[in-house]
C-alpha cells in the first residue's frame, strides 16, 4: 500500500512551471495583433460631468476608438448587485462608464483602445473633461450623520443598508450584569494589493462565434454568467479562463468590473483581441477596497468576568456603491462574539456610502475588524475586573462538549444561524501560554523595564466561519493514454496550491502518484459548475467534492480491474498507478489499461491499449457494449454542499519591544496556535498562515489608504502605501492542533484567512502591555504608526 498523501508535506505540482518563468498570467497570453485598452478615470470625488470631449484623444494616430457611456448601447446599464439582501434599502451600483456624474476618484469615464499601451496612455491624457464638483464627506462617522453631503442624491443619510440581529435577550443580560464595559474601535481602509493587478483579455472567434475572456478573476463561472447575460449570449458561447493569477485576496471575486465589460465589447467591435492590464496606480483607485469600520461595542459581565451579553453597533464604509451587498458587514457581525459563549448578542450595522472606491471582501472579510472589537473589549474587561487576560478568555470559552454551539437568530452569509461545529479552545490557549512561557515572560518584562526597555506580550483568539456553501463540484477522469488522472473543479487558484492538495486527495483514492494527478481549474470550457475561490472554502467544499468524486472513480476502477483480472473486487488493491489482486505478487493492470478497456470503442494505438486486450473485458455485460446506465471510461463527478460553515479557530501571541527612541516595534516572538481541522498538506497550511500573518502585520502597522478631505487618495502607490518587506515581518512559530470537523468527509476546515484576522489585536495588546508603565491610553485604532504611538505616549505624559 502506498503511503497516505493526505496530511503529508508534499511539494507542489504547480511550482516547476512557475519557477522556470513559464507561468501564464493574463498579460502573458500570446494574442497576435492585440489592441490595448486604457481607462480615463475621474480625478474628482463627486461631481457632475459638464463636458466630456474625446475628440483630441480619438484623433491621435494609433487610437482606434475612445468609448464613453454613449457608445455602450445596451451595456450602458447599471451593473448587478450581486448578493441582494432584504435589508439593502438603497442599493446602488455603477455603470461601466460614468454617465453624467462621478462618485469617486478613479471611477472610469472613458475607455481608449489603441495599438499599444503607450499610445493608449497618451490618448487618455488628451480627453477633456470638465466637472461641476459637489461637496463630499470622507469621514465615515460624519458621512452617517444627518446633514452630511449625499453621495447619491436619492439615498437619505447615505445609508445603503441597516441590519439588526439579536440572539438571546440582550436587555435582560445587561440588566443582570455586575459590570459593563464599552469601547469604540476603528480599523482603517485598506487594499489587498495582490502582486498582479487586475487584467482582462478577450477574443471573439470568428469561426465558432465564441467569446473567450482571460481574466484574473476568482470567479470565472460567475463572470461567464454575467457576460452571457450582458451580451445576451448562450452560456456555452462564452468561455472565461482564469489562468495563473498573481494573488487574489478577495477583490478579484467581485465582477463585473468595467474592464470585464469593455474589453470583450471592443474585441467584438474590432474583430481583434483586446487586452487591458491594470497598472499599480490605477489598482489603488479602481480595484475594490475594504476594512474601514467603526465599532461601538459593550460587554455585560458578572464580577467573575463571565460575559452575559454583547451589544455592538458598527458603521461599515461601503464606498460609493454596494455591488457585493452586505457580505463584509454581515460576516463581521457573525463573528463578533468570537470563541466565547456569550448567550445574548445584539449586533446592528449600517452600510454607509462615502465617495470612495467601492468595498467588497478582502482577506478576512470583516473578521479582522470584528475580532479587533471583541478582543480589545475582552482585554479591557479583564483590566477593569482585575483579571488576567488569559483567564478571562478561559472562563468564557465554548466548551468542547457544547458543540455544535448555535447562536440562534444570528444569521451567517449562508443564510443559516451561526453554529460552531467543533473545537478545543482552551487547549489552544494553554498551548500558547506554554509556548510563550507567560510566567517567565513577566519576570523578563520586569527586568527589562528596570533597564528602560519596554517589552510587552499580546494575544488574540479568533474564530473563523469557513467553508461556506452553497456547493462545489469535483470531476475526476483517468486518461486512457497516459494513465494520468485529470481533476477539475469550478474554482480558480491564486497560489493556494489546489493543484497539489486536490491531487493528494485523489492520489489516496486512486493509488496514483501526486505528480500524476493533473488539476485543471479556472476554465469554464473545462468545467463549469461551482462558485469560486473565497471565504476559505476551497479545501473544505471543493476538497470534499473532489474526494467524493474520487471515491466513485475508485469504485469504477476496482470493478473494472476485478473484471479484467477475473478477481473479486474486495481483493483489488490500487497502488503505484496499477490495480492488482492483493498479495498475489502479480503485476495486475495499469490505470491506463483499465481506462482504455473501460471504453468499448478502442484502437490499439499504444502499448496500454494493446495490453488491455489481453485481459478479460472491463465490464461484464451480455447486452450492448455499454450497459444501461453505464458510461465509457473511468470518470466521475460529484458535489459537496456543506450543511453549514465549519469554524476554524486559533490564538496568536507575540512578545514585542517598543524602542522609546523611535517607537519602532521589534517583534521578538510571534506564535500562532491554530486549528483548521485535518490538514491536507501542513506545508501549504503553514504557507497560508505565514502569508496571512504578513498581511495582518500590514494592517496592524502600515496599510491605510489616505483619502484627503476632498476625496483624493493621497498614497496611491507602493512608495506611499507601505507593504511590508521581509524586514518588517517576523518569523512565525506555528503550533498545529487538529480537531476534525464533523461536517465533511475529510474533517477539514478552511485556513485561507486565518493568519490575517487576529494580528491587529495581538500587536495592539502587546504594545499596550509594553507601554503600561507609561500609562498610555488604550489602543483603539489600527494601523499603528510609530508617530501615532509617540503621540499616545506624549498625551499620557501631559495627563500625568
Amino acid at each position: 500500500m502506498s503511503t497516505r498523501q493526505f496530511g503529508a508535506r508534499v511539494q507542489r505540482n504547480e511550482d516547476d512551471r512557475l519557477i522556470r518563468g513559464k507561468g501564464r498570467y493574463v498579460d502573458d497570453i500570446p494574442l497576435e495583433g492585440a489592441l490595448h485598452g486604457v481607462f480615463a478615470r475621474s480625478n474628482v470625488a463627486h461631481a457632475k460631468i459638464t463636458r466630456l470631449d474625446v475628440s483630441r484623444a480619438a484623433a491621435l494616430p494609433g487610437v482606434l476608438k475612445v468609448y464613453t457611456h454613449e457608445d455602450l448601447g445596451s451595456l450602458d446599464m447599471k451593473m448587478p448587485l450581486l448578493i441582494p439582501h432584504p435589508c439593502i434599502t438603497h442599493g446602488r451600483t455603477q455603470y461601466p462608464l460614468a454617465r453624467d456624474e462621478v462618485f469617486y476618484v478613479g471611477q472610469a469615464i472613458a475607455f481608449v483602445v489603441a495599438v499599444d499601451r503607450y499610445v493608449a496612455e497618451d490618448a487618455a491624457l488628451l480627453i477633456d473633461v470638465e466637472y461641476e464638483t459637489l461637496p463630499v464627506e470622507i469621514d465615515l462617522r460624519r458621512a452617517a450623520e444627518p446633514g452630511a453631503p449625499l453621495v447619491h442624491a436619492d439615498v437619505p443619510g447615505n445609508i445603503a443598508a441597516n441590519l439588526v440581529q439579536e440572539s438571546g435577550d440582550v436587555a435582560s443580560a445587561f440588566a443582570k450584569a455586575d459590570h459593563i464595559t464599552s469601547i469604540t474601535v476603528h480599523c482603517e481602509r485598506s487594499t489587498a494589493a495582490p502582486m498582479e493587478c487586475l487584467a482582462t483579455a478577450a477574443r471573439w472567434d470568428e469561426v465558432s462565434g465564441e467569446l473567450t475572456v482571460w481574466d484574473g478573476t476568482q470567479a470565472p463561472i460567475g463572470l461567464r454568467g454575467a457576460l452571457a447575460s450582458l451580451f445576451d449570449l448562450d452560456e456555452h458561447a462564452v468561455r472565461v479562463i482564469a489562468p495563473d493569477v498573481g494573488g487574489g485576496f478577495g477583490p478579484k471575486i467581485h465582477f463585473p468590473y468595467a474592464n470585464e465589460v469593455l474589453v470583450p465589447l471592443a474585441a467584438r467591435e474590432f474583430g481583434r483581441p483586446v487586452k487591458w492590464i491594470e497598472d499599480r496606480s490605477e489598482n489603488f483607485v479602481h480595484m475594490t477596497h475594504e476594512r474601514l469600520q467603526i465599532h461601538d461595542i459593550e460587554l455585560a459581565a458578572t464580577r467573575d468576568g463571565i460575559v452575559l451579553g454583547l451589544r455592538d453597533r458598527f458603521l461599515h464604509d461601503t464606498g460609493a456603491f454596494i455591488p457585493y451587498g452586505i457580505a463584509v458587514a454581515q460576516v463581521a457581525s457573525c463573528q463578533i462574539a468570537g470563541p466565547y459563549r456569550i448567550p445574548n448578542i445584539l449586533v446592528e450595522f449600517s452600510c454607509v456610502y462615502t465617495p470612495t472606491v467601492p468595498v467588497t471582501p478582502y482577506r478576512g472579510c470583516g473578521r479582522p475588524q470584528a475580532n479587533f472589537a471583541i478582543e480589545r473589549a475582552m482585554d479591557q474587561l479583564a483590566d477593569e475586573l482585575g483579571l488576567d487576560r488569559f483567564e478571562i478568555r478561559r472562563r468564557n470559552f465554548i466548551q468542547p462538549e457544547e458543540f455544535p454551539y448555535t447562536r440562534p437568530n444570528l444569521i451567517f452569509a449562508d443564510g443559516l444561524p451561526v453554529t460552531h461545529d467543533s473545537g478545543e479552545y482552551e487547549q489552544a490557549l494553554r498551548a500558547l501560554m506554554d509556548a510563550l512561557d507567560v510566567d517567565a515572560f513577566k519576570a523578563d518584562q520586569q527586568a527589562a523595564l528596570e533597564q528602560g526597555r519596554y517589552l510587552g506580550l499580546g494575544l488574540s483568539f479568533y474564530v473563523e466561519g469557513t467553508g461556506l456553501g452553497p456547493y462545489e463540484g469535483g470531476h475526476v477522469r483517468v486518461h486512457p493514454i497516459t494513465g494520468k488522472v485529470f481533476v477539475n473543479t469550478g474554482l480558480t487558484t491564486q497560489g493556494q496550491g489546489h493543484a497539489t492538495v486536490f491531487a493528494q486527495i485523489v492520489s489516496d483514492q486512486l493509488g496514483v502518484a501526486v505528480e500524476d494527478v493533473i488539476v485543471v481549474e479556472g476554465d469554464t470550457g473545462v468545467y463549469d459548475w461551482g462558485v469560486g475561490t473565497f471565504a476559505s472554502r476551497a479545501a473544505v467544499v471543493s476538497g470534499s467534492a473532489v474526494h467524493k468524486a474520487a471515491v466513485l472513480a475508485r469504485k469504477q476502477l476496482i470493478d473494472a480491474a476485478a473484471n479484467m483480472l477475473e478477481a473479486n473486487p474486495d481483493d483489488i488493491e490500487l497502488s503505484d498507478g496499477r490495480a492488482f489482486v492483493a498479495g498475489s505478487g502479480v503485476d495486475g493492470v495499469t490505470l491506463a489499461e483499465i481506462a482504455t478497456a473501460s471504453n468499448p470503442l478502442r484502437y490499439a494505438f499504444n502499448k496500454a491499449a494493446e495490453r488491455a486486450t489481453q485481459f478479460a473485458p472491463a465490464a461484464r455485460s451480455d447486452g450492448p457494449p455499454l450497459a444501461e446506465g453505464a458510461h465509457p471510461g473511468i470518470e466521475a463527478t460529484d458535489y459537496y454542499a456543506p450543511p453549514h460553515a465549519t469554524w476554524a479557530y486559533g490564538v496568536h501571541g507575540a512578545i514585542v519591544e517598543v524602542d522609546p527612541m523611535t517607537y519602532g516595534i521589534k517583534i521578538h516572538r510571534y506564535v500562532c496556535v491554530h486549528d483548521c481541522g485535518n490538514m491536507i498538506n501542513p506545508m501549504i497550511v503553514e504557507g497560508q498562515i505565514a502569508g496571512g500573518v504578513a498581511q495582518g502585520m500590514g494592517g496592524a502597522f502600515y496599510e491605510k489608504l489616505e483619502y484627503d478631505e476632498d476625496g483624493a487618495l493621497r498614497n496611491a502607490s507602493f512608495m506611499d502605501f507601505l507593504i511590508p518587506y521581509a524586514t518588517e515581518i517576523p518569523h512565525v512559530e506555528m503550533i498545529h492542533q487538529e480537531t476534525p470537523s464533523p461536517l465533511n468527509p475529510l474533517g477539514i476546515k478552511g485556513v485561507g484567512e486565518a493568519g490575517t484576522i487576529p494580528v491587529a489585536q495581538v500587536i495592539a495588546s502587546a504594545i499596550e502591555d509594553a507601554l503600561r508603565p507609561l500609562e498610555i491610553a488604550p489602543i483603539r485604532k489600527v494601523p499603528l504608526s510609530p508617530s501615532l504611538l509617540h503621540s499616545y505616549v506624549t498625551e499620557a505624559g501631559l495627563r500625568k
Partner: protein
C-alpha cells in the same frame, strides 16, 4: 504607467552632453534612472529631451587622493559602497550608502543622480553637506565647484543652472582617529527615512571634542547642518548627558510640518534620539575610545 515620448540623446562626450543640454529648454539627465524613470512612468515628468549619460566613462570613476574622495557623477552607488579604498579613507561613506534604498536600486543608482535629484530626505546629499564636501558642475562656460552647503537650495532644487551637469562629488577623508556614524529611522527598511543623522567626531589631546560634524536628512527642505549642535559640542567633554543635550538642541532644526503619517514633534523626537545615539557610536569609534 508608461513614459511619454521624448527625444533621446546619447552623447559620447561631456562636451556634447552640455551642448545638447544648452540646446533644449526642457531636458533631463538619465543617470541611473532610479528616480527619474519612476516619475516618468507616473507621467509626473514629461521631458522633451532625455540625455542618457551612460557612455560618459569620463564621469565614471572613484579616486582617493590627497585626503579627498572624488566620485564621478556616473559612479554607481553600489560600486562606491563596495570600494575598500573609499571605506578606508572615509568609512562614513559606506555606512551612509548602506542606508540608501536597496542593493538592487543601488546597483543602478548613481552618486551624481542622487545629488542632482536633491531630495532632502535622501542620505547622500546629507553626507556631502555634513562632510562639507564640494560638488563640481560643468556648463557651457566651464566648470565650477560649489560647496555642498550652498548646492542644495530647496526640495529637488540645486544651485546648478539648467544648462549645467553635475560631474563630481568630493568628500574629505576622515582624519586618523576620527569617529563616524550614520543611522536613520524609516518605517520600512530601505525607505526614505523619518530622519537620518550623519556624524563625525574627533577628540583633542585633552579628550575634549575637537571637531564634530553633524547633519540630518528628512527634517527640512534641504539637507540640514546642525551647526548649533556642533558649536555646542565643540570643546566639551563627551558624556551621555552631553550627547542627550545635543539631541534636544537639534530638535529646532526640524522645519518640515506634520504630514499624514508623521507629526513634527515625533520627527523631532526621533532626530534627538538619533543625534545622541550616533554621537555615542561615533565616540566609540574614535581612537582611544
Amino acid at each position: 504607467m508608461k513614459p511619454s515620448a521624448f527625444r533621446y540623446a546619447l552623447p559620447s562626450t561631456l562636451r556634447d552632453a552640455i551642448d545638447i543640454r544648452a540646446r533644449f529648454e526642457d531636458s533631463v539627465i538619465l543617470a541611473g534612472g532610479q528616480s527619474l524613470i519612476p516619475t516618468m512612468n507616473f507621467r509626473l515628468a514629461n521631458p522633451e529631451v532625455v540625455i542618457d549619460l551612460r557612455k560618459l566613462d569620463e564621469l565614471n570613476y572613484v579616486r582617493v587622493a590627497d585626503g579627498v574622495v572624488r566620485i564621478g557623477a556616473m559612479a554607481r552607488q553600489r560600486v562606491v559602497e563596495q570600494n575598500d579604498e573609499v571605506a578606508a579613507a572615509n568609512p562614513l561613506i559606506r555606512e551612509t550608502l548602506l542606508n540608501v534604498a536597496h542593493p538592487v536600486i543601488r546597483n543602478r543608482g548613481t552618486v551624481g543622480g542622487s545629488l542632482a535629484h536633491a531630495d532632502p530626505s535622501a542620505e547622500l546629499p546629507t553626507l556631502l553637506t555634513t562632510m562639507r564636501g564640494a560638488i563640481t558642475v560643468c556648463g557651457p562656460s566651464g566648470r565650477r565647484t560649489i560647496a555642498a552647503e550652498d548646492f542644495f537650495e530647496f526640495i529637488f532644487t540645486t544651485a546648478m543652472e539648467p544648462d549645467e551637469l553635475l560631474v563630481e562629488a568630493a568628500i574629505p577623508a576622515l582624519e586618523p582617529g576620527e569617529g563616524w556614524a550614520f543611522a536613520e529611522f524609516a518605517r520600512r527598511h530601505g525607505d526614505y527615512s523619518v530622519a537620518g543623522v550623519a556624524v563625525t567626531l574627533k577628540l583633542g589631546a585633552d579628550r575634549r571634542i575637537d571637531r564634530v560634524r553633524l547633519g540630518a536628512c528628512g527634517i527640512a527642505t534641504t539637507p540640514a547642518l546642525l551647526t548649533e549642535c556642533e558649536r555646542f559640542l565643540t570643546g566639551k567633554s563627551p558624556s551621555p548627558e552631553l550627547f542627550a543635550e545635543a539631541g534636544t538642541l537639534a530638535r529646532d532644526a526640524v522645519t518640515v510640518s506634520d504630514d499624514s503619517a508623521t507629526s513634527k514633534v515625533y520627527r523631532q523626537h526621533v532626530l534627538a534620539g538619533l543625534v545622541a545615539r550616533n554621537l555615542t557610536t561615533a565616540m566609540t569609534r574614535t581612537d582611544g575610545a
